[in-house]
Amino acid sequence: MKKTLCICLVLLISLFCTGFSFAKDVVKIGLITPLTGDVKTFGESTKNAFNIALEEYAKTGKYKIVPIIADDRNDPTEGANAALKLISQDKVLAIVGPLTSKVAIPVSEIANSNKTPMISGTATSPKVTFSDGKRKPYVFRACYIDPFQGTIGANFAIKQLKVKTAAVLYDVGNDYSKGLAEYFKATFAKGGGNVVAYESYQKDDVDFSALITKVGMKKPEVIYVPDYYNKVALIAKQIREKGLKSALIGGDGWDSPELIKIAGNSIVGGSFTNHYSPDRKDPIADAFIKKYKEKFGNVPDALGALGYDSTVMLLKVLDNVKRPTQEEIMKALTTVKNFKGVTGRISFDKNGDAIKSAVILKVEKDGFKYLTTINP
């Protein structure tokens, strides 16, 4: 009896505390993003975009935003720790991020069970918003999901590249890579193609010589490598060193200038599905790109663009709700329709996933070139 009373009291106090902190005009927003580690360029551009969004909001917004930025190193454990700290110690109203699916999945569980709204810009695994047959109501994302991306990759290979045989190499410990690989394989087979090799590797692998020799025997016309740029660069290099001429295709994890820097000529000619292309003419996107370029000296990648979109969307919702509580924000987010973002119009479906079109980019010596847009 005493115990329950104690728990109730603690709950009451914590409820009071959170309520109290909202009474002032200060709102804390957390950002979880990989600022170091194997995908740090993703984290950096997201952080830059997040800061631009906050700066713009500061001019017109209703509240004073206190940002709290945490580094997840693209490590699920680090991400979960960061989320717990943001929620229980810093008492943030909402979280932007994390970027990658493997970190976003555990973080989404924490955010959802603590009733803290979370918007990930770029975590594309279906499990981020939906798992065990249940929708996580507090979790949203500003991007499309892996089934869509993997399917588009396969259709691109069949229809545009007109190939019949493909090989898939994926990271078995990464939900993002695994998801894309599965949907690519299914769609490619359905479209009349033949997946001649479907091979996995592990996160810390650097030697792919055995795998590539094995794949090379089957002589695939394309090799699908759905992973992040660092690993893709390493694999691409070894593929070319083994004398394979197959075309390379991949997913949004390729979107980093580091890819061309590390892989050099090995990756030139490859193509990948992405969320947006800075080449596409659009007033909102152009304004954002211009501002980003002035501040940070380079063109933002899709991760930055989506980070910006998710932050702006969250702040807009924040201004529209009567009281800035986590529940109100969550409810308001579910009603977002046709939000005009840098990466196109965003509406959430019943799972909190954005309904969006994808673009296909081609890797050239000096950067990524826009090829085509594909609508859902």
Binding site: T36, G37, D38, E199, Y201, V206, A210, T213, M217, K261
Partner: protein
């Protein structure tokens, strides 16, 4: 014929991997020989070697042989310092303290070097000092990177053999590994011999680090963990404390990794390696070349 070519090609891949494991395994086995210590920090010295080479190439663009010489010098120094600072004060402590210290040194190196002001925890592209070229030989292709790895590993092993079996210092090393007390009664300077062992082991790990960086041009501060563990298994497999055992063990582990990936699935690869470790410990704990259970 095609299958034969495939197998030969995979053999080359296995030799490449095995050569690097052999270089690291030597350090484990030599230190174990003289000190009965599994030096867990050894994998991190390997990583240190790769980073030092990276800075020498990218900042000072030194020719490759100078890079090798300087890197070996630096890692040897690091090995010497680690021995003096961390292990020497524990010379008479229980062996378990030494082992825990080794784990501590390893974690210290990884997390200290991953600080933003030191090497940062990021993945860094390792600049190759030359372009890769492939040569078609008979049924398979060899790259110049592979040839360089074979050549340098072979030279290092040869020099190590000369050092251990043909010099006074080497005789001292073998004597210390046989029995420390008796060796010291014979007038052998135990501390100097142990230091020399660490220096040689660390220099070899440094060479391994550079070769690894050239072969798989991407480095980070945690890159030493897996190769370290696998080389340790290689050393156990060959018979820990036995130099030619470590070399053979390294090549067996490299080959098994490649052939598991080639004919089964790469998901089983690490599993198979650890099964090998279990089997060795169960069936012949002293390893392939081990003759007797060491007295404690």
């Amino acid at each position: 014929m095609e299958l034969l070519g495939y197998i030969l090609q995979q053999c080359i891949n296995g030799l490449q991997l095995g050569a690097v494991y052999a270089l690291i395994a030597l350090g484990y086995t030599m230190v174990y020989g003289v000190l009965r210590l599994i030096n867990f920090a050894h994998g991190d010295i390997f990583m240190l070697g790769a980073f030092i080479a990276y800075y020498l190439i990218s900042r000072f663009s030194l020719p490759i042989y100078v890079v090798f010489a300087l890197t070996m010098l630096c890692t040897a120094l690091a090995g010497y310092i680690i021995e003096k600072v961390a292990y020497k004060p524990l010379r008479n402590a229980p062996r378990i303290s030494l082992l825990i210290t080794a784990v501590g040194v390893s974690l210290f190196l990884e997390y200290f070097l991953s600080l933003k002001s030191v090497f940062t925890p990021n993945y860094i592209a390792f600049p190759r000092p030359f372009e890769v070229e492939a040569f078609d030989v008979f049924l398979f292709t060899v790259t110049n990177v592979q040839l360089i790895i074979f050549a340098i590993t072979g030279t290092s092993l040869g020099l190590l053999y000369l050092l251990v079996y043909k010099t006074k210092k080497g005789t001292a090393m073998r004597a210390v590994s046989y029995d420390q007390e008796i060796a010291s009664l014979m007038g052998i300077n135990i501390d100097a011999t142990i230091s020399l062992t660490f220096i040689v082991g660390a220099a070899l790990a440094g060479v391994g680090g550079i070769l690894y960086g050239i072969a798989y041009p991407q480095i980070n501060v945690f890159m030493g963990i897996m190769p370290g563990i696998k080389s340790f298994i290689a050393a156990v497999l060959g018979g820990i404390g036995i130099i030619h055992g470590a070399v053979l063990g390294g090549f067996i582990i490299g080959m098994s990794e490649v052939f598991v990936s080639a004919f089964l699935s790469s998901t089983f690869r690490d599993g198979v390696i650890f099964v090998i470790l279990f089997l060795v410990l169960l069936l012949k704990p002293t390893g392939i070349f081990g003759k007797r259970i060491d007295k404690v």
